[in-house]
């Protein structure tokens, strides 16, 4: 029995060591953020989606648009590109952050937030914090 226990412990130690050693091309789950998926979706439905509706986003996105819906997942995939609440594709499109000139908005539907502190950018930034946590500082 003691031998079985020792073998099991060795096996466990081996796998734990494997999991902590990242080899090239290996894939890891990021535990820090995976817990907040349900919370993020709830926040989106209760706070972000109504702000999109109040700020004219549904004029284009609620019907047969090339990106026809404004669902949690479709917006999450734009929110995800970037490394902070202020640096992500969703905010830079609706906030007109990166445009050739201020009167030629990057977003086909134009600038939807007067500043990053006004809606709907404000709710989007809060949503980013729930989904992805503290801004990365490697940059």
């Amino acid at each position: 029995m003691a031998q079985i226990q020792r073998q099991t412990q060795r096996l466990l130690l081996f796998f734990l060591l494997c999991s902590s050693f990242q080899t090239t091309g290996s894939e890891e789950k990021n535990q820090e953020a995976n817990n907040s998926i349900a919370e993020g979706e709830m926040f989106y439905q209760e706070n972000v989606s109504p702000m999109f509706a109040q700020n004219g986003c549904l004029k284009c996105h609620a019907r047969g648009y090339i990106r026809p819906n404004i669902s949690y997942e479709s917006m999450l995939r734009r929110l995800a590109i970037g490394d902070s609440a202020e640096n992500n594709v969703l905010v830079y499109k609706i906030g007109n952050v990166r445009s050739f000139s201020s009167n030629i908005p990057n977003h086909p539907g134009g600038q939807r937030c007067a500043t990053l502190d006004t809606e709907p950018c404000k709710a989007v930034r809060q949503w980013w914090a729930i989904e992805f946590g503290i801004a990365r500082t490697e940059k």
């Binding site: 096996l11 091309g25 970037g82 009167n103 086909p108």
Partner: protein, 492 residues
Amino acid sequence: MSESKFSVDQQRRTLVKGLGATTLALTLMPTSLFAAGRGPTAVIVGAGIAGLSAAWELRKAGFQVSIFEKENFTGGRMVELKTGPLHGATHAEGVFNANREMFALGAELGIESQVRGEAYNQVWSPESGLGLDNGHGIYDPGGMSDFNIEMTRKIPGLSPETSKKLFLLQADMDEINATVDPCLLETGTVYDNESVGDYYERVLGKASGKEIVNYKIDTACAGWGWDPYSTSKVAMLSWLSSKEQFVYPRGGIATLPEKLSSVLPVQTSTTVRYITPPDSNGRRTIHYLAANLERRSVTPDVVVCAVEGKYLASMVQGLTPKQEALSNNCFFTKQPVVYWILDEKHGPEELIMGAYTSGHPDPMKARTYHWVAMPGVPELNQPPYVRYSLSRKHTPEWQNSDMAIEDYCWPMIKQLYPQLEKSHVVDIVDHSSDSLIHMPVGYINQMAEVLREQRKGKKSLYLAGEYVSGAHTGAACASGRSVAREIIGHWI
């Protein structure tokens, strides 16, 4: 006996505990995105034609590749777009015959005849009213890839002085045609010194230059959503000088990316969040959202960033100053397009269309890039529709208007096609989208500097795509293949 039973139960419990712990350990253990192999690992970000072409070359050379694509389809702008019953192309429609890398890749995959196709030059028919209207008459503006001097002389309203000076353009066109590859615009950096509008005004004189820009160049630029007075002349002249035909691939625009996707490992619905600077081993970690929305990360040997240039600044950390400067200069033009889908009783009996220069004297026409009323095609399950595309110059006015695109465009289309009634409309489809990368004066030099730096030696991050080659599908394909060859040279 009882001691023996106890012992067996305990052994079982121990084994169950051990297996449970092992399962937990296996769950936590990194999984591999790559098939077993010995070559370096490479993640290609973006399954557009640039990323797929790069992945194909790298895999042939022995790399273990995996492609991440944020959309649930592959091919990027070369996707065969289908929106409900309506088949419309908001992205790439055809390819230029100069796309030699693309045709060579098609040949390698055994589908060259499907990638090649018929010329596009039968579209215009001024005698049937299908042409460009500049207020003086309707004419054939010529292809986007051919500045034909004889044809240009026939433009209605063109002044005799301008007509006489057109021969002055031929020498420059011959030189550019001989020296610049329109699929790899870094070959044309010496011509990246003025806008295409300024070029025509300099060579032909201000008045004649403006005429040519208004009657010919502005419409060609509009195909890219570009403004002639900010766009680098080489971005346009590389095509206008080439005399290459624009063709529709026989197998459809998506033929090549679909074939590549069928033989390469693509992870669709996988969104890259950000790519870290190199670690102490020189490798970068990619943080991403997997298809099931889990947050994951992977650290390959090589990352090829074949995304649309507009994502670069948000996505990649630790760019070099030259890459950073280029990424901050990546802008995309807009293409506002709206479809009114009509009920079957109220479609036109035959195709009716209009296309206008932005200097047209009628203000409603000047606001219109083009429109078409299309009969239904039952065999394609395509309903009758009216399609309207707003001119580039008026796009910002709409963007800042807070109006839905169909409300903004309604007065224009109502004047152009009075038969259109709201009661005949069964659906509205907004095909407004980002268009192509803008190439203002100086961009091509900036791009070439990034490529020179990239070639200097082995790296963990390489850039590929239209934003470092040229604004069309053939350039993206050529970029993917040429960058892959550089990586192979550095790593193998």
